[in-house]
Amino acid sequence: MKINIIRRDALKYHRVRLIRRINALVTFGSIGLFSLAIVYMTSYFVYLGFRQNSLTQTAKELQQSYNGRVREVAAYTAVKEIATAVNNLTEKRFKYKEFLNGIYALLPPAAILSSVDFGAPGVVVAGVRLSNLDDYDFLVNNVKNASGSANFLFSAIANKQLTRELTGSYLVRLELKIKSGS
């Protein structure tokens, strides 16, 4: 029986070499990784320390500069608050002139707008003086035509009263309901 001594030695040699390599990898790998973590951590700590000092100093200087301008800050704050308040007020402002123009557009040429009352919310009561009944027809016709328009400011118009005065003129009392969103 023949025994291949050379092959057995070769196998053993390979195994030894592999174990040695693993040992070297474990040893130097762990040392390397550990050193890397230490170096990274230390250098990052040092960087953050410097950065923190630098920023603290800058923030201190800026804060001093800011504190020295406290009057400007107060002025800015006051102006900002007033501008915000004025904006809010302007948004909520009722457009009296537009509504008056809207009512006036309905009147016949010879008519006189004798009274306008915005007292009730969402409703305008207007008194119109007319010289004759033809003007009244004209007014009614204008109301009918205007009601169909999309830009018309009122959703409904009611003729509440028509009276003939001693002077011979006619007084019409109109109640105009303001369109929501106008």
């Binding site: 990784l33 951590m41 950065r51 800026l62 800050v73 704050t77 915000t84 008519a111």
Partner: protein, 241 residues
């Protein structure tokens, strides 16, 4: 007990393993906890950076404010909603406005000094003051008066409006009408400047426009040509149509 090469290998392997275990233990028990400190330091730096950026921005905004908003503009803004209610000033302003629009102030009623509870109220962070006013004049001038209020300082809102004729004068050619209106004026006591306020709350472009617009508003002492027009009847030029 193995001897020779095997013994050396085992020794080497044990040494490598112990080294790895030792370093891993140090890493786990000594190095890893320090990462928490690192994160905390990083957060401190990040907060400082934010603070520095905010301060830089605030200072830049203050520079712009100083350059862009003139003293005259600031005066207009402060006058728009003053820090205290001054009935005397408001009355003088209304008189000037009436004069400019050629209307007459028939009566007025406004709170002064210690304003009564009915007259002063709070709207948001503003204190409101109602001024009841009765003026007479031609309809076109009366409406001109109402229209002028929207661009006059201090800022006021028309709360109620009623236009009516004065007896028979209107029909007999006098053209006099009467206007009853309630104006709401505002005042806002200046609050103490909260620390850090400016670091977050800057003027918006809309507010900048408002500030600029307020400069164009008329105020007491502004010399302007009379805007009233002679009394007229009919529909020709009433309300600017």
């Amino acid at each position: 007990m193995p001897v020779g090469l095997d013994a050396e290998l085992i020794k080497q392997s044990v040494l490598a393993g112990l080294t790895a275990i030792f370093l891993l233990s140090i890493f786990l028990f000594l190095v890893l906890p320090r990462f928490t400190d690192l994160a905390a330091a990083q957060k401190r730096v990040s907060d400082l950076e934010k603070n520095v950026n905010s301060l830089n921005r605030a200072l830049a905004v203050l520079d712009d404010f100083r350059d862009d908003v003139s003293l005259n503009t600031k005066e207009s803004v402060y006058l728009a909603i003053p820090t205290r209610f001054d009935p005397g000033y408001i009355l003088l302003a209304l008189r000037q406005l009436a004069l400019e629009n050629r209307v007459n102030i028939v009566s007025y009623s406004l709170g002064g000094g210690e304003v009564s509870k009915e007259e002063a109220a709070t709207k948001g962070n503003l204190t409101t003051h109602q001024v009841r006013l009765e003026i007479s004049g031609s309809p076109v001038n009366l409406i001109g008066f109402v229209d002028s209020i929207d661009s006059y300082l201090p800022v006021a809102s028309v709360s109620e409006l009623a236009l009516s004729e004065v007896g028979k004068i209107f029909t007999s050619g006098g053209g006099e009408s009467k206007l009853n209106l309630i104006l709401t004026y505002y005042h806002k006591p200046s609050p103490p400047v909260p620390a850090g306020f400016l670091l977050a709350n800057f003027l918006t472009p809309d507010e900048f426009s408002t500030i600029t617009a307020l400069t164009a508003f008329k105020r007491l002492g502004t010399v302007t040509p009379s805007e009233g027009v002679p009394t007229s009847f009919g529909k020709e030029n009433l309300f600017g149509l």
